[in-house]
Every structure is written in C-alpha cells, then in structure tokens.
C-alpha cells in the first residue's frame, strides 16, 4: 500500500530550515544513512517513521551535530557549520540526558547555564509546561520513566530553540501524558518552531503532524501528508 504523497510545499534551499544533500553516514562497513537528500520547511511538525535500523536516530543525531557525516552536506538555518547554530537547536535523545542524582530543578538550572540562561523562573516554567512540579526535590533517579521523558523534553525546549529534534519522546509514557506532550508539540509548532519527531507511536501525532517522513535502509523513501495509505482513504 502506498501512503498518500505529501502536498507540494516550500522546498527551495533558501526557505528550508534544514536541508540535506547526499547525506551518508557509515559506521565501519555499515552505512546507517545512504544518500539522504531532503529539505524541510520551517514551522512544521515532521514525524520520521521507519523500522528499527532504518537510520532515523542517526539522521536526527546528524542534524543535531552529534554525528559527523561520512559524506554529503547538512545545512541548518542557512549554515553548514552546525556549531554556530547549536543554540537554536533542541535535542531530546532516547536516553534521558539527565543527571540521576540531581532534582529536576537542579538539572535544568545546570543546563540553562550552558545556554546563558540564569533565571530560575525559566527553568520552573519549562518544568511546569511538561506537567511536572519544579518544587519536587527528589532526584531524577526516583522518577518514573514517563516523568523522565517529560523532564527530558523540558531540557530540550529550555533554550527556546527554533528547531526541535526529538527521538522517541513518547516511549514508556502513558497514553494520557503522551497526548499532552503531543499537544504541547503542536502548540510549539504553531508558534513557529520546526519539530522533528522520531517515533514508533505515530498515531499520537496523526492529526497534528504536517508531514510523515518514511525511512527504509538509511534512505527517505517517501513523504506523505497523512499517516493513512492512499487506498485506505
């Protein structure tokens, strides 16, 4: 079954928030990305789908500047030097990227300093925005997996980034909380942010996402505007 093709949108190099050209990433003899060329326009919510090993996480890590491409080019916010725009990118990985021994507020306070944010009010607001209590003193190690995921999202949006790269944000989160997080992402998209979500729970974003990007064997095989295949519509 063939998914519905995406409607033509702004795809010129100039208007793209992110563009990749012939992106290849190899780990030894294994190619995780095999010539990914794509353009993504700003202010949209992209859902990246694919089986395990399709290259979704590697693509996200490459866009975040954590994985150096073996070949090809990545342009983010008009530059190939990702270090210069890393303050405009928020990244949430599958692991929490949090210190287990510290509380939510202590974690965010530290990460805020890395972005030259010095007021606790911003940290508290971010924690509240994901449905957690900033006054909670217990260390992150004692959080449930769902709470960690939400705090991890709070850390990723702490610097008010233009681009959000989220790897499995809903994993191990209960349905109610996951829907709340999805709603929050839609709100952020509406405020002009470009959001890329790698997930196996695409149905949570079915009515919120602008585009579904399908990956297979290290390549983007199709881009659709709906999650449903054409024949099913």
């Amino acid at each position: 079954m063939r998914p519905a093709p995406v409607k033509p949108s702004l795809t010129t190099q100039d208007s793209a928030v992110i563009s990749t050209n012939g992106l290849v990433k190899e780990f030894g003899r294994f190619a995780a990305l095999r010539g990914v060329s794509a353009e993504f326009t700003p202010g949209r919510l992209y859902v990246i789908l694919g089986d395990n090993g399709a290259g979704k996480t590697t693509l996200l890590r490459s866009l975040a500047g954590l994985a150096q491409p073996t070949r090809g080019k990545i342009v983010v916010l008009g530059t190939t030097n990702l270090r210069t725009v890393c303050g405009q990118i928020g990244y949430m990985a599958h692991p929490s990227l949090l210190y287990d021994e510290m509380s939510a507020m202590e974690n965010l306070r530290y990460f805020a300093r890395l972005y030259e944010i010095f007021d606790d009010a911003t940290c508290a607001r971010m924690i509240t925005s994901v449905g957690l209590d900033p006054a909670l003193a217990r260390p992150v190690a004692q959080y449930s997996q769902g709470m960690r995921q939400r705090l991890s999202l709070a850390r990723a949006i702490l610097n008010d980034p233009k681009i959000l790269l989220l790897d499995e944000p809903f994993s191990n989160v209960d349905v109610h909380s996951a829907r709340e997080m999805a709603g929050l992402l839609a709100k952020m998209r509406d405020s002009g942010k470009s959001i890329f979500v790698v997930t196996h729970q695409a149905s949570l974003l079915e009515n919120l996402a602008d585009e579904f990007v399908w990956m297979e064997a290290g390549q983007i095989t199709r881009r659709t505007s709906t999650l449903q295949p054409v024949e099913a519509q």
Binding site: A67, C86, Y91, A93, D100, Y110, R113, L114
Partner: protein, 224 residues
C-alpha cells in the same frame, strides 16, 4: 558564551554530584589507604631510608589512586548519555575540560590532605630541608597528574577497556612530572639538594600540558 560562567556551573555540578555519591573520594581513599598499609608492611626503613623512599611511595600511591577518580568523573557523563546534552549546547568545550580538571584537582587534594598524615605517621617522616616547599610541589604535582589524567580519561572513557586504556595513555606522559615530583620531595625531605630545579620543571610541565590539553580537547569532545 562565558568560559568562566560555564566552568563554574559545571564545577559546582560535579562537586555536588560527588558530595552526594562520594564515588570518587571513597574509591581513592580506600585504594590509597591499602597502598600505605601494604607499603608499611613491605618495607621497614629507618628514618634516613624513609626520607629517601617516601617521595616515590607517596606520589606513586597518589597517581594510582587518582586514576580511580579520573575514570569516575567521565563515567558520570556517559550515564544517560548526558555528555551529548553538553555537546549539542553552545557551551565551550574548554569549560567542560577546566571544570573536570579543577574538580579532579579538588578530589586529589582532599585525598592528599587525608593521606599525608598517615604517611608521616607510618614512615616517621620529618623534612630536613625547607618543608614549605612541599606545598608548591604538591600543588604543581597534583595539577600535573589531573590535567593529563582528565584529558586522557576523556579519550579512554569511550573505549571498551577504559580501565586499562587510561593508565596506558597517562603513565608514559606522566613520567617527567613524576620524576620531578619524586626528586623535589626527596630533596626537601633529605635536605641534601635544592628542589628549585624540579619545581621549575614541574611548573613548566604544567603550563605546557595545560595549554596542549586545552587546544586539543574540543576534538576529543566532538569525536564520536
């Protein structure tokens, strides 16, 4: 981006984490204490012999104990892949390096402060030379150990056999510093020679390797 502000925040975070877990301090103390006891049973020197060998024993014990702490500080950053959060931020790489090196310096100084009285007691040490010179020797020697140790621990932490890799990388580079530390300490304890040359050598070593580590650390941090 302020190098000083990020260094201070990262150092404060590391000290807080160590205060709560006490992973590095406990491991170092236990290891160093074992070495003091084993050495004291292995050798039974008189006062004169003690002054001649104590410099070597003390610094070898601190070097081995420091390796334990050096691994711990980076291992903490790999749990939950927290290091990636630093790598995607605009914070300067050198802030992370300086904070880690300063944190390790504090840990090793605490270790030295606790273990030195034991060494003095077990080996009945008394300096015949200018004892105050032991302070710059200890400060410069400790920095020599931790600055290279922090750098090489950052390299080795992502390798499969990190416990072996760190000493393999660190010890050969530490030989000039270790030689200077041991000779300076022995010179001060015996009072036979001046320690000035060795102190200057240590200071030079510290400056050269601190600059080299700062220049190279960004490549280490961004390496996959």
């Amino acid at each position: 981006m302020s190098l000083f502000a990020v260094t201070r925040a990262t150092l404060a975070k590391d000290l807080r984490l160590e205060w709560r877990s006490k992973d590095a301090i406990n491991s170092m103390l236990f290891f160093a204490l074992l070495m003091v006891v084993v050495f004291s049973f292995s050798f039974d020197p008189n006062a004169e012999e003690s002054r001649r060998i104590a410099g070597g024993l003390v610094w070898v014990a601190f070097l081995f104990a420091a390796v334990v702490a050096l691994n711990q500080t980076w291992a903490r950053e790999l749990r939950n892949q927290v290091l990636d959060a630093y790598r995607v931020s605009p914070a300067p790489a050198n802030s992370l390096f300086m904070a880690k090196a300063l944190g390790n310096f504090v840990f090793v100084v605490v270790l030295e402060a606790l273990m030195t009285p034991l060494f003095i007691m077990f080996y009945q040490l008394r300096a015949l030379g200018p004892a105050w010179q032991l302070i710059p020797v200890a400060a410069l020697g400790t920095w020599a150990l931790v600055v290279n140790g922090t750098f090489f621990a950052a390299i080795s932490i992502r390798t499969r056999s990190r416990e072996i890799m760190l000493p393999l990388l660190l010890f050969p580079f530490s030989i000039p510093a270790l030689l200077a530390m041991v000779n300076a300490t022995t010179a001060i304890l015996t009072g036979e020679l001046s320690a000035r040359f060795w102190i200057v050598l240590l200071a030079t070593y510290d400056v050269v390797f601190t600059i080299a580590c700062l220049l190279l650390f960004e490549s280490v941090l961004q390496a996959e």
